[in-house]
Symmetry: C2
């Protein structure tokens, strides 16, 4: 592909989508962002709308997509991504990652464009192997409440590979692990914004279960670089790559760190564990290191400080 | 539900579909069969077309479905089901079990009908637990060549449960294990018709790998009774049930039994193993026994004899 590219990004007004649009625009590419603001926000793209190299299309990817211009790369990021969001929109979530995947793959095929699908660590489910390499098939309950997200992501991965095999399309799959940073929604139900929100307002920090369950949190700037490399490097067609931080931290430690950094007086309280909440989730990123030369560099304290600064500003009267 | 029922059956011209239509018609119900003959055949339903209680609609379930009449029960069986078929139609297979599932669920919801989804033992993938109970989540490669079928079935199960939870619909899921009997296609690539075909024509019986891999084969009449009970009994909403024979037989033993029953002079030859072919596949049918009072009764020798008789007749000049 010859630079600059024209890139279509679905879910451009979401947390990851808006950062990824910024990255492509700042690297000199042209971006067509698509979103229907189901879980994304206009705030996230307000500054991008002023850019000459950014166009916005208000659209629901569940419907047939027609775009007149040339497109070199399609990135399908659109999907309600927090458990609170996909529990609220279970059927729409399954449509975005089936009909939406068909539509965006069809568009990429028609345009002769490369395709990057944003999959998720949720495809590993209640993993029985730690850390999870890409060769691990996962352990997902197909009929549980979380399956609307995890099975839709798995379906989309299978569909991408079917288009890759059947139509020789250049397809890449990013399995995105927990990511945090500025532009998350304070109320999206995910653990980092929830805990920061509580810490900043002096409310108790609520932890599901005993807090010994671990997660590995990747700062948004690290993730965006990984996605950019996976989308733009040559010779990666047909590859699924884990993108995330391999640094595990328990939810209890995370809560304590947030309290420390924000100088909060909040206490920690425990709620019942969530159904099917995995006990551990940690990527093996050997493949991304090898193929992309990529490695997360921002430690949790630095990342949390930046995120807390953002939310302080956001919640200021 | 008050009998007789009006039942819509997709995939009515397939192996299982045509037998199931017969069962419903013979029990006094009205059946609307739907098929596009992608893998089903007109031969399979020719006799049904003469029945007053059977209507046929030539239709591809990937498109929006409108039916004017009352419908009490929707059974979504349509899908290329043999590895040879879904390898030939990978993207269509994924459409039938995503778009087709959305469309048939939407129809059932609109009509206030009960819904039965025909899932598959393939959702267990390369199972690491034997026999497989319904509580086992499976071990499926989301990006392998077989994923077009297994992930589409898993997606549809998740979608059924989403409609069940979101719209309080009466949903049942049948996880169908290997089934054999009259009306299979001789050339559909599945092991029983392939081996019988070779035995009857005096060709060598080709076995993938060393033949120690086991399967459990359920005779079609047993399976149909299980499906009928799962569809018509009260109090089963939200249940996924294994339907299949718990009697394991190695592929080598199967080949020998077919040679014996058909008095064939054929020899057995070995081919390279198939990619991702599971070594064992055997249902735990405790749940079906308990909830349906169902148990397969036709032993493999009896079932094979009936099937061989059918194919002898079929291949006669």
């Amino acid at each position: 592909m010859s630079f600059p590219l024209t890139v279509l990004i679905t879910g451009c007004a979401g947390f990851i989508g808006s950062h990824l649009c910024e990255m492509f625009v700042s690297e000199g590419h042209f971006v067509i962002g698509m979103d229907n603001f189901l879980t994304g926000t206009q705030d996230n793209i307000a500054h991008l709308l002023r850019e000459r190299r950014f166009d916005f299309i208000y659209y629901n990817v569940v419907n047939y997509i027609y775009v007149q211009s040339r497109i070199d790369l399609v990135i399908h990021l659109a999907c309600p991504a927090s458990p609170a969001d996909y529990s609220k929109h279970p059927i729409h979530t399954m449509k975005v990652d089936s009909l939406g995947t068909f539509n965006t793959l069809g568009l990429a095929r028609q345009k002769g464009a490369r395709y990057l699908f944003a999959s998720s660590s949720e495809i590993y489910g209640q993993a029985q192997v730690h850390p999870q390499p890409e060769t691990y098939f996962g352990y997902v309950n197909p009929t549980g409440p979380r399956s609307v997200y995890s099975e839709a992501k798995r379906f989309s991965e299978a569909l991408c590979m079917a288009y890759h095999r059947q139509h020789s399309m250049d397809i890449r799959i990013a399995r995105i692990f927990n990511t945090y940073g500025p532009k998350m929604r304070l109320n999206d139900g995910r653990v980092v914004p929830s805990l920061i929100s509580s810490a900043l307002s002096g409310e108790p920090l609520k932890i599901h279960g005993d807090g010994t369950q671990t997660r590995s949190f990747c700062y948004i700037d690290d993730l965006i670089l990984g996605l950019y490399l996976l989308a733009t490097k040559e010779g990666l067609s047909g590859k699924s790559l884990n993108l995330g931080s391999p640094q595990e931290i328990s939810i209890l430690e995370l809560a304590k760190e947030i309290i420390r950094i924000s100088s909060s007086t909040s206490e920690i309280v425990h709620l019942p564990p969530r159904p099917e909440d995995p006990q551990r989730r940690c990527p093996d990123i050997t493949l991304a290191r090898t193929l992309l030369g990529w490695n997360p560099t921002i430690d949790i304290s630095t990342g949390l400080s930046k995120t807390i600064e953002f939310f302080k500003h956001k919640t200021a009267p």
